[in-house]
């Protein structure tokens, strides 16, 4: 799935897991993806992640293109979004800008959401997986390409299996975009997978008593 330019040919809308190893590969893939949109005035950019991540992406993009992008930021063509430990708020932090982009008439939104796993300012892993699955339904109503980078150098394997592979219809790895046979449709993911995540089976009884995330599990149990 490659365009004539050599860049991956992303369907629109699409939700894509980017599997990368470390910062260098992340920058190459993500900044190239965002720069394509920057060169097209009909497209908007949406950088999302833990506090400070969106700003860092913007600075990196400015370095790459060699100019100040604050005019685009002020005009609302570039938006920086922030994760939230409360997954409902996090979802709202994604939906509201997408609606604003649509109201402004942008033909395409390039969304990059840097994935955190068991991070203090991020939803607990099982809530985040719900969010990832739910995103498939959300973005189906918007002209958006959602790119979710998963860092192989930092993430546990379970984040890749249950997150990157099971909640994304497409996977981008080594510059190649592929349809993902491991993807599980949101309805099935919610009813069959999310309630049976293996690490919840061990923690479930204690968590039901303690309360916690959307799945009833205390934050941090998914490590």
């Amino acid at each position: 799935m490659m365009a004539s330019s050599g860049a991956p040919a992303f369907p629109v809308p699409s939700h894509v897991a980017l599997l990368h190893y470390g910062e260098s590969e992340l920058r190459d893939a993500v900044l190239g993806f965002l720069q394509l949109g920057l060169d097209r005035p009909s497209e908007a950019l949406f950088c999302f992640g833990e506090p400070g991540v969106g700003e860092r992406l913007l600075r990196n993009l400015e370095s790459r293109v060699g100019r100040d992008l604050s005019p685009e930021y002020r005009a609302g063509r570039i938006v920086l979004g922030t994760a939230n430990p409360d997954v409902d708020r996090q979802l709202e932090n994604v939906i509201a800008p997408l609606e604003a982009f649509r109201a402004s008439g942008f033909a395409l939104v390039r969304f990059v959401g840097i994935v955190g796993w068991n991070a203090p300012d991020f939803p607990p892993p099982e809530d985040f997986l719900w969010f990832e699955s739910k995103l498939n339904e959300i973005i189906s109503g918007f002209p958006v390409i959602g790119l979710c980078p998963y860092d192989l150098a930092r993430m546990p394997a379970r984040a890749i299996v249950y997150g990157a592979l099971e909640t994304h219809p497409f996977v981008l790895s080594g510059g190649t975009l592929r349809q993902n046979p491991q993807f599980i449709a949101p309805d099935r993911y919610l009813h069959e997978r999310l309630v049976a995540l293996p690490w919840l089976q061990d923690d479930g009884r204690a968590a039901l008593q303690a309360g916690g995330g959307r799945m009833g599990i205390p934050a941090g149990s998914g490590r």
């Binding site: 599997l19 190893y21 470390g22 910062e23 260098s24 590969e25 998963y150 860092d151 192989l152 150098a153 930092r154 993430m155 546990p156 394997a157 379970r158 984040a159 890749i160 299996v161 249950y162 592979l165 996977v171 790895s173 592929r178 349809q179 993902n180 046979p181 491991q182 997978r193 293996p198 690490w199």
Partner: protein, 228 residues
Amino acid sequence: MSQARFARSEQQLTAPEHFALVHHGEEELREKLFDFLRPALDDPKQAIYLCGPPGWASRLLGHLETSVGRDLRSEVAERRIILGHGDPDVDQQLQNLLDPVRELCGRGFSPVRVAGPAAWDVPGYAAPEDFLWYESRVLPGIEGLPVTIMCTYDAARLPASALLYGAFETHSHTLIDGVFSESPSFLSADTYLKTRLIHLPWLEPDRGRAVSSTSEDRPARGRRSRNR
């Protein structure tokens, strides 16, 4: 052409096959091991080879004995079940797999079922980059043989890179949560050697240094990387 069916699920594989079971923890391993190996216990024309880091083959046999509820020493004694082991020298490790598997095929067993866990950065075992080379050479090694190999990858214990570069890129198929599917990331042995193995990110000095320290942030120790 040899078919290998599973005990509980509807899966049926055509040998030769080399697939990755991605599981979460010991309980699921035991369950899937039983599902895969039980038909061989019920059919005297089939054989089993168990392998892994030192001690693992006996452990897998113990899981199997628990699941079937009987002692399998007689099958081991008659070498219908062979217990093997890995080796820090990956060429030797490949030989440790292929010699007994060919022996079993030569004695007329079909299919021969193989199971062994993926180990990553384990003392006394092949280094990760060497282990990946081994994984990529398994399928060419069993070409034309009635052999089905299940490599088990524990998502609860392994790092993410083991999963991508090992389970998904060196196996033509994966079995995850009971679903057997083609791995779109699979690379043939030659392609793997030329495009992946010599470019493993942790072997490249300038890659990933900005990332905070992790257990994988370590120098290569494998023979393959030293010989590059």
